[in-house]
Point group: C2
């Protein structure tokens, strides 16, 4: 395998790693929701059309395991749970932006046909 080919394989692996962490229908929307001010489970749930509790719960766990968000218990009366995007998670902006703008462009392209 040439150096060139090796470099290509690494590129592929890096992209597949990313897709594993933030791929799928919901993960980026969830992060954006939290980022845009929704801290609590039901707030996040209500801000994202069609997501179910089960899916949201699972995705929150996945995101937490990957250090993108944190879950904290606020000792207030009554106690509540709050989610926040970590500073590491903020780095996803570099991906979310392109994904959003490409999606908009593509919709135009498809409609135009």
């Amino acid at each position: 395998m040439t150096t060139e080919e090796k470099r290509f394989q690494e590129k592929i692996k890096a992209i597949q790693d990313t897709m594993f962490v933030i791929g799928g229908k919901w993960k980026i929307p969830i992060i954006l929701s939290i980022y845009s001010g929704n801290k609590r489970f039901n707030d996040i749930s209500n801000s994202i059309p069609k997501i179910t509790n089960r899916v949201l719960s699972k995705e929150l766990k996945h995101l937490e395991e990957n250090f993108l968000i944190i879950r904290s218990i606020v000792s207030d009366y009554p106690v509540r749970i709050e989610y926040a995007v970590t500073s590491y998670g903020l780095g996803l902006e570099e991906i979310a932006k392109p994904l959003e703008s490409w999606g908009k462009k593509h919709k135009q392209k498809i409609k135009g046909k």
Copy 2:
């Protein structure tokens, strides 16, 4: 629903649209493979570890339907099939790059723990 909320919903939809078109484990790698010089079915197949014929075939169709690649029959002896990235497809660079570099960063992060 406030204007702010409406804007947020559109953002989500745009991202979900993008994920539909280029999400999953293989689509970006396939495009990159073609872009980096592999034009023929078996070349593409061999350049991407672990992909199977069936999956490659399906993904090529999906990508073609979304105008990202074109399939052409080269009337030579023997006739062969060649794939190429369309100029529209080249626009994906703006997504592929961030996905790659984020993946690399993330691997470091995970290893560091």
